[in-house]
Symmetry: C2
Amino acid sequence: MTKRLCAPVAPGGTIGILGGGQLGRMLALAAARLGLKVHIYCDEDDAPAFEVASARTLASYNDDAALARFADLCDAVTFEFENIPAVTASFVAGRAPLNPCVRSLVLTQDRLEEKKFIASLGVKTSAFLEVSSVEDVRAAFARLGGPAVLKTRRHGYDGKGQAKVSSADEVVCAFEDSQRAPSVLEAFVDFSFEASIIAVRSTDGAFAAYDPPENAHENHILRRSTVPARLSAAQVEDAKSIARRIAEALGYVGVLTVELFVTRDGALLVNEIAPRVHNSGHWTIEACMVSQFEQHIRAIAGWPLGSTERHSDAVMENILGGEAADWERLSQTGALHLYGKKEMRPGRKMGHLTRLLPRTEA
Amino acid sequence: MTKRLCAPVAPGGTIGILGGGQLGRMLALAAARLGLKVHIYCDEDDAPAFEVASARTLASYNDDAALARFADLCDAVTFEFENIPAVTASFVAGRAPLNPCVRSLVLTQDRLEEKKFIASLGVKTSAFLEVSSVEDVRAAFARLGGPAVLKTRRHGYDGKGQAKVSSADEVVCAFEDSQRAPSVLEAFVDFSFEASIIAVRSTDGAFAAYDPPENAHENHILRRSTVPARLSAAQVEDAKSIARRIAEALGYVGVLTVELFVTRDGALLVNEIAPRVHNSGHWTIEACMVSQFEQHIRAIAGWPLGSTERHSDAVMENILGGEAADWERLSQTGALHLYGKKEMRPGRKMGHLTRLLPRTEA
C-alpha cells in the first residue's frame, strides 16, 4: 500500500530517515524544532542519530520486514547518505513517500552515470572517460594526458577510491590497487579553489539556494567552508542556475549539493553532486534563519521552503579525529557541534565549529 | 553515594532533566548539539521532551526507586520548571550533582520568601505584605491601598493564582476564591513596560547576561519579547547587576531569569525570579551564537560559559492554542518552533516564532 504525499506532513507526523550518522542527527534536530517526530533506521547500534530520535530501528538495510514496519510508521522518508542500497530505497519508496527520488540516489552512486547526466544538461565538468580494463586505462590516460585522477565508479566519499596519477604506469598501478574496479579517469583540474552550492527544491517545484561557500580540503576531507566565497555575483548566479537545472531534470525534492571547481579563468566545473545536505552547508545553522537541515525536512515533508538568506558571514571548520579532545577550549571560540561519536579515529568527522562575522555583500 | 561535579561532564556524558515540557525539549536539543546525552524524567507520558531524549523515565516525582535509578545514570542533573517538588530535587541532589541548587528552587516556590530574599539584597520590588487570614487581607489592603494584586504564595505561573483587586471587598472575595491559601498582597505597579534579564552563572562563579528583552503579556501569558528593550545603557547595566547579586547570593549555577517592571520614572522593580531558562529568552536561539538553553547546559555540566552577545535584534512571538493550526503560513514568516504538543488548548504554549532584524546598538 503506497502512501502518497498529497498534503504536507502536519506537526506531530513522523519523518523516517535511512541512515544514522551526523547528517541524520542534525536532520532529526531540525525536524524536532518543527514539531515533527523522527524515526531513524540504521544498521549500526551506536549511530549518532539514534540519540535524538523519537523512534529507532536497528536493522540491516536488506531486512525487508524491518523496512516495511519502518515505512508503514512514517509519513515521509528520506536518506542521509548516498550509499544506502538503491534496492532498499526502492523498497521503502513502494510503501511511503521517499525523497529525494530513487533515481537521484542511483545516479549519484555511480560517478560515470552522474558525469554523463551532468554533461547531458550542457553543464561543464572536467573531461572524463570510462575505464573498465587495463587497456581502457592506458588508452584514456593517453587521450587525457597527465596529471589525471582515477576514481572508482562506486562507493567513493572523502577521497576514498581516488588516486591522482601523473604517468601511464601510475594509473595502471592505481587501477590494479582498486582490484580493477570499474572506474572513471578524469583530467586533473588545476582549480583556483573549490566551492559548493546547497540548493533545495520543494514538492511544488519551488527552488532556492544558499550563497555558495568556498571549501578548503586537507587529505581529501573538508577542513573549512567560508561564506561568502571569492565569486562574482555572476558566478553565484551561474552556480545557482547549475543546481537548478540539475534539480529540475531529476524532479528532485529536498536539499541537493553540487560541488564545483572554480578554474583560474573563472569557469565553474561540476565535480560531483550529493543528493543530500552537505558538510559544506553546516554554517547555515547559525548564519541563516532556516538551515539546510530544516530546508530538507520542509521539502520532503511537503512544507513551503524557508528563506535561504544569510544574516551573517560565516566560517565553519570541521573537528577531525583527536581534535575533538580539545572540546573545552573549542567551546569558547564559536558555535560548537559535537556528533556524539565515541571513537576519535584519525580523520573522522567528530564535530564542527562555526564562527559568524558581520555580513558583507556577497 | 553522592557524585560531585569535580570536572566538566565530557561529551558522551549524560545530562538528566527533571520535567519534560518545551523547556526540557529545547534544553535537550541544545545538549545534543554539544554531544551530550539527555535523560528526561517526567510523570506525563506525552511529554514534549521525551521525543528528543536518548533515555526516558516515565514515573512519579515521588517514586524514590525511579529517581535513584535516574540519578545514578546521570553525570549532572537539572530541572526545567520550578514546581518540581523540593523533596524530589533534594533526593536527587543526594545522588548526583544537581543545579540550580535546591535552595533556589525552594525560594522561588514561595512568593513571600522570594520577595523577602530579594528585598534583603537591597533590590527593589513592589511593596508587599504577607496575608494568611481575612483579617490580614483587610489590614494589608488598608495599608497598601488599591489597586493591588493578591497572589497565592505557591503554585503560580502564567497568571494562575493571581487577582487584581481595587476594593476591600474584592480582595476578600479573591482570598475566599483561593480557598484562603497563604498569599501575598502586592501594591499594583503602574509600570511603563515589563522586561526580563536572562543571566547565567557557572560552577566557577563566572557570570554573564543577555541584553534584556521587553516583554508584552496578554491575559497574563507572554505574547511577545523584543530585543533590545527601550532601556538606557545604565538601565541595562542595572538589570544585569540585579541578576548578578541574586545569582551570587544563591551560589547559583545555571540560567536564572529575573522579571522586571520598568516604572514610568525609569526604576527597575523585580517582579519575580525563575530558576531556569525562560520563555522571554527564546530569541537567543537565533540571535546569539550560544542560546540560553546551551548556556544552561554548559553551566550545569561544568563547562565554560559561551558568549551572550547578540548578532541581531529579534522579536519572538508565542504561538498559543489554536494559533498553531496556522503552522504552514507561520513557517514562512520566521524561525518556527513547535513543541510537539497534541492538544491545542486555549492559551497553551504550542510553539514560538522568531524574526531577526539587523542589530541596532542597545
